[in-house]
Amino acid sequence: MPSRALTRWLSEAQADLDALEEAHARASTTRRSRHALARQLCRAYVVSVSAHFQRFCRDLHSEAAQRLADAVEPRAFRGALLRLLTDGRRLDAGNAVAGTLGPDFDRLGLAFLAELEARPENRRRRLELERLNVWRNAIVHLDFALKPGREKLVRGTSPDSVRDVRRFRQACDALAREIDGIVRAHVSGVVGGAPWR
């Protein structure tokens, strides 16, 4: 049984993103008035991919925390464990990037980034995730004067290029499945049974 987080990513999130993809395709014509619309839709697409991926990560973290706490004896300690796992979680306020995913999932007992990047293709995907969120922040803060490090990171990509956004989305989709697998294996090992119920 997949996690509810992954189920939601594969259903609700993909439907939302497909709707933006379709709207962008309809707006993409050579007419200048429509070009501006396509650009705005492309930026909305960037923000939406980032938001849905953050929700997936946060949901998966919550689901795993609930399952781990549910397996703890004595029962009276479960609330204290849940507090340790979920209070002040970085994903509650920040984008899903290495700086939030690592510390938050490590609380569950994982060496998260090391496990994720044990597969070389995930390093490239994580880079795409970082780029996605640089552009996401630029869009929502209306600040495209990027700091040198961030400018270097996103060089050659654009939030107005639907091809780039599709690549970011594909990276997020692959990462969602990878992260779900890592967390599933970890939770299953700790509780000694099915990870999700």
Binding site: D59, S62, Q66, G79, A80, L82, R83, T86, G88
Partner: protein, 90 residues
């Protein structure tokens, strides 16, 4: 308050249909005491067997016994009636 807290205990069957809403006051058992908490987010059905999970702010009320406010996510069947509601019922 629209919902009934009757029977909201850990011993309930996990399929118990109680749902809580953002803004509701609930009770959370901590260290043998019952603290008042406010539901600040509905996290969806992320608990065991699809149970609703909520994010709570614990200890924000002036008379709460918690030394400082904190947030925690909990499944609804771990929640209890808020302390004030329990006192009225006695």
């Amino acid at each position: 308050m629209a919902i009934s807290f009757e029977g909201m205990r850990q011993e309930l069957p996990r399929s118990h249909p109680v749902r809580v809403k953002v803004g509701e006051r609930v009770g959370v058992a901590v260290g043998g005491r019952l603290l008042e908490a406010t539901v600040i987010e509905d996290r969806g059905d992320l608990g065991a067997r699809g149970q609703q999970v909520v994010r709570l702010s614990v200890g924000e009320q002036p008379r709460a016994a918690a030394p400082e406010p904190y947030e925690v996510e909990m499944p609804v069947d771990w929640l209890q009636p808020p302390p004030a509601l329990r006192r009225k019922r006695r």
